[in-house]
Symmetry: C2
Subunit: 248 residues, 2 copies
C-alpha cells in the first residue's frame, strides 16, 4: 500500500483524535478491518495497520501473533453476531403467511445483516461484507476454511427456506440464484461508484437502503423464474440469436 501523501508536521498518528488509547487491541482490529476491506489483504502491510491504529508494529504481533491471526480474529468477531441476526430474521420470515411476502422476507433476512452490523452500526456491516467480498476474490486460504465452516450452514438454511416457498423450482436452480445474489451483493459493496457512474448520477451506489431494495426486488424475481431444465434441449423456437452451448 503506498497511498497518502502524509502532511508533514503532524504527530504521525492522527487517527480518530478522540480518547487516546483506551484499548489498543481494538484500535488495531478496527484499522485492519478498514484497510483490508479497502485495499485487500495482500496490499496492506502490518506496518500500515500499526500506523493507522497509532500503534507499534510489534504490538500487532503481540496481540495477534501473525497477520493471518489478525484476519482470523476479525472474522471471529463478526461471524457470530451476523449469523445470529440472520437466523433471527430467517425465523421471523418463515412465520409470514402469504407465500409471496414470505419469499421476500426471506431474501431480506439474508441481505439485511450484510449491510448492518450487530455491534457497531457505523458501517460495520458493509465494511465486513466488503472484506468478505475481497477475500473471496483474492482466494485467501485462511479464510476459505472459515467460509465453509461458518457460512455454508447459513446458506443451506436459506436455500431450504426458499425451497419451501418455491417447491416447484429444483434446488439446483435455487443454489445458482442464491449464488448470484451473493455475487451481486459483494460487487455492489466493492464497486458502488460504478452504479453512480453508469446511472449518470441519478443513483447512489453507496446508498445501502436503496441497494437493499433493488437487490431484494431483483432477487425475488430471479428466484421465481422458470427453472433451467438442464437435460432437455431448447423447448421453444430458436431464442433470437442461436448460440446455445458452444463451449466446454
Amino acid at each position: 500500500m503506498v497511498r497518502k501523501p502524509a502532511k508533514s508536521g503532524m504527530k504521525a498518528d492522527a487517527k480518530v483524535a478522540s480518547t487516546r488509547k483506551p484499548n489498543m487491541r481494538e484500535a488495531i482490529l478496527a484499522a485492519a478491518e478498514e484497510l483490508f476491506s479497502t485495499y485487500g489483504f495482500n496490499a496492506v502491510s502490518v506496518r500500515d495497520i500499526a500506523q493507522a491504529a497509532g500503534a507499534n508494529p510489534g504490538s500487532v504481533t503481540y496481540h495477534f501473533k501473525t497477520k493471518d491471526g489478525l484476519l482470523l480474529e476479525i472474522y471471529r468477531r463478526h461471524c457470530g453476531p451476523m449469523n445470529r441476526r440472520r437466523s433471527e430474521l430467517l425465523a421471523a420470515a418463515r412465520r409470514v403467511r402469504d407465500l409471496q411476502d414470505r419469499l421476500e422476507a426471506i431474501v431480506r433476512a439474508y441481505v439485511l445483516p450484510a449491510f448492518t452490523s450487530g455491534s457497531d452500526l457505523t458501517g460495520g456491516g458493509t465494511r465486513f461484507t466488503r472484506l468478505r467480498a475481497i477475500m473471496s476474490a483474492e482466494g485467501n486460504e485462511v479464510v476459505r476454511k472459515i467460509i465453509a465452516q461458518t457460512f455454508d450452514d447459513t446458506s443451506h438454511a436459506f436455500i431450504d427456506a426458499i425451497h419451501e416457498s418455491l417447491p416447484h423450482i429444483p434446488r439446483t436452480d435455487l443454489v445458482w440464484r442464491g449464488h448470484f445474489l451473493l455475487g451481486a451483493l459483494y460487487y455492489t459493496l466493492v464497486t458502488p461508484e460504478r452504479i453512480s457512474r453508469l446511472s449518470r448520477g441519478s443513483a447512489d451506489g453507496t446508498d445501502a437502503g436503496h441497494a437493499i431494495e433493488e437487490l431484494v426486488r431483483a432477487t425475488v424475481a430471479a428466484l421465481q423464474a422458470a427453472p433451467v431444465d438442464q437435460g432437455a434441449p431448447a423447448p421453444r423456437k430458436a431464442p433470437g440469436v442461436s448460440l446455445g452451448r458452444m463451449l466446454t
Copy 2:
C-alpha cells in the same frame, strides 16, 4: 505466492512441454494471465511469472518494463476482441422481433463473450473475465482507468438496448440490475466450487454452458421485475418483516 511443493529433480520449468520457446513474450503473457486470474495481482511476483513461463525475471522487465505494464498489455490484448464480439452479438440481438426473445438475446450477448474468447478458445474468455473480477475487487489503480474507458461504453450500449425492450422500467433500475448481473457473473467465475459444494454435487460451477443458462434466465426475470420506486413509501401492506430503511 508460496504454493507448489515443487518436486526436486525437474529442470525448473515444465510449463506446457510443447515446443520449446517460439515466442517468450507470449509465454510470459500467458503465464501472467493465468497467475493473476488465480491469485490476484498483488499475490503474484514477477519471479513467479517468469518461472511459470520458463523465462528469466529480467525478460519480463525487458518486454513489459514494469509489472503494471504487463497487466496493461494483458488488458490491451483482450479488450478489443471481447468488446467487438459483444457489439456484434448486441447488433444481432437488436434485430430480434419478439420483445421477450430480444431481451433474452441481449442478455445473452452480454454474458457469452465473458465466457468465450475471441482468439484462443481454451478457457481464454473465462480466464480474462476472472482476472477482471479479481482486479475490480483488489481495486487496482492501473485497471480502473481502462475499465472506465473501455467498458463503460459497452455497458451503456447494453443498458440502452435493454431499456428499449423494457421502456416502462426506469433506467436507474436497469443500471442496478445490470450491475447485479456483472457481480453474479464475476462471483461465479471466482468461486465456482461454492456452487458445487452448496448443491451437494448436483451442479458444477465450472460448467460454463450451464452457468450461462442460469445467468440469462435469472437476469431476464430480474430485469422484468416491477421497478423500485424510490420516493414512494411501501405501496402494499407491510411486506412480512418490517425493516425497511433503518440505515444510512
